[in-house]
Amino acid sequence: MAGVAERSGSGPRHGSTLGTFSGSGPRHESTLGTDDQRSVPPGRQKRKSFRSALEGWGFVAPAMVIVVGLSLFPAVWAFILSLQKWNGFGSQVNVGNANYVQMISDDELHAAVTHTVLYTALFVPTSVLLGLFLAVALNRQIIMIGIYRTAIFVPFVASAASTGILTTYLFNPQFGFVNNILRVVGLPQQGWLENPSQAMVVITIMSLWGQAAFTTVIYLAALQDIPVELLEAARIDGANVWQSFWHVTFPQLAPVTAFVTIWQTIGAIQLFDLVYTTTRGGPLDATETIVYYMWKAAFKNLEFGYGSAVAYGLFAVTLLITVGVVLYSRRSKVEAF
């Protein structure tokens, strides 16, 4: 992903973490570090390159040790583990691809996939549309706009633990705020987190509460990058507000839409912590997601090998989705990546 930013060539503010590096802007690479190798005798040149290697690695090594030691190395190790049966104490038994084969016929995993897909289908479109809607609404100078913005953005700092406590309180069937409102307006009381067909909806609502700020802020930045002349031209041509939004603004936002969609999808299929702090997978396993199942397999049942295999399966799916969207948006000339 080479960053949404390439679209406008101006600001990679909405760039993904992955991508802006491969862009094409001017790069002020220093030429200082390069030794002037033409005039230096071979022995000295060697010593100099050794010294520059020592200096370079001195700068990067401390951080590299942490990152490689806690990401790259465990990722490789996880793959080895996924080919074993091991509970962390006894002996490690190599089982080849048995863990991956087991995934094919694991009904609980299939149910977890279904719940994850349900959550993704609920969360991703609503979070993108809500972000777009809020960005359009907040993109104006009226009094109190600062208060509106703060109120909408501040839930972004709420942790999963905090959101979980708030969710179980607000949606408590007996005295929760939401049922209280329903009671006052004369509607029937709901079970919410205790009802298998409503629990995932509640989790989606509270995820939106915490994350609307993210899509909104990205759309806000993008809206402000749209050239004013485009909208003026549309107005002169007789387009009304609605038409100029759908025919001018929205197409201009396509790369950002592609970016936030993929970003939210990757986040959604990894849902774990809000499930842990609200339902712990219940009721009747209705909110058990893939990562929750993986966590249960690895750390409750101590099936380290199988847990790793599930994690790798999910990683593969994530990569496929990412590559798929990138290729699709390239082909349809949406220069998002």
Binding site: R13, F59, I66, A137, V157, A161, A221, D273
Partner: protein, 288 residues
């Protein structure tokens, strides 16, 4: 493409809109803002409501009396202050270490030329793609062998540096003109002096982004402490209040008092430094 962090989103003036339309936008935005504020408002109110009132039926929207008994009980019967201290330690060590180590590495990758530089940077970029759940099992085993499990160290070590931080700082350094440093080299400054005296003072926006990213991530982290720490002396705040949910299920004013202590510092910081938070947000899907 060089990363530009100097233009926080919040600072961009919105396009002015005709006066006539503004009343409708208020009618739309005020209820939405109210809904978004509601959970936190409920959190503060409930923390100050006597338990006897919370469990009454029918429930009230606003408490008849306010009390601090939830907070008092929280301080008396739980380790909340210890957990607060633990979280402050994790976050401050994490932020400081991130700023130093990622600046050094980012500068090395941006400006120094040495054998293995490109390979090293490729390794960093590759790790950005790796999702955390893939790392949980091996990291747990690794930490168990290092004797870190059930200690605060288990919560600290993963926040010492990150691929994202290295990447961010490198991109920022690449966007600075190298001429500034060339003069310093001619004056005989060492690379470290150049970094700390010339480059870092210019890198404040990037450092702010990195600090907020690390603060938010380390303060709110739940998944990793949940796996690695099972000893309530080493609990972080998030772990502590999550544990309450099982142990003190119906004691809502105490639960919410704990929630206030875990959340209020970040809420206050967000309100003070909103621009920097928004800039950080556009930069990374922090919660993704």
């Amino acid at each position: 493409m060089a990363i530009m962090i100097s233009r926080p989103t919040g600072a961009i003036p919105a396009r002015p809109v005709g006066r006539s339309g503004s009343r409708w936008w208020h009618l739309l935005l005020a209820p939405i803002a109210f809904l978004f504020a509601l959970p936190f408002v409920q959190m503060f109110l409930t923390a100050l409501t006597p338990v006897s009132e919370i469990n009454k039926f029918p429930p009230r929207f606003f408490p008849a009396h306010l009390t601090l008994e939830g907070f008092i009980k929280l301080f008396e019967t739980s380790g909340i202050l210890l957990w607060l201290r633990n979280t402050v330690v994790v976050s401050s060590v994490g932020v400081l270490s991130h700023l130093v180590l990622c600046s050094l590495a980012g500068y090395g990758f941006a400006r120094l030329r040495f054998r293995g530089r490109n390979l090293g940077f490729l390794a960093i970029v590759a790790t950005i793609m790796i999702p955390t759940q893939l790392l949980m099992v091996p990291t747990y085993i690794l930490f168990a062998r290092l004797g870190l499990i059930d200690t605060l160290g288990a919560a600290i070590v993963p926040w010492l540096a990150s691929a994202f931080g290295i990447f961010l700082m490198r991109q920022f350094f690449l966007s600075l003109p190298a001429e500034l440093e060339e003069a310093a080299v001619l004056d005989g400054c060492t690379r470290l002096q150049i970094l700390f005296r010339i480059v870092l003072p210019l890198a404040r926006p990037a450092l702010a982004t990195l600090a907020i990213f690390t603060l938010l991530g380390s303060w709110n982290d739940l998944v990793w402490p949940l796996i690695a720490i099972n000893n309530d002396q080493a609990f972080t705040l998030q772990l502590g209040i999550t544990n309450f949910q099982g142990a003190r299920r119906t004691d809502w004013s105490l639960l919410m008092a704990g929630n206030v202590i875990a959340t209020l510092p970040l809420i206050a910081f967000f309100i003070v430094a909103q621009k920097q938070f928004l800039a950080t947000m556009t930069f990374s899907g922090l919660k993704g």
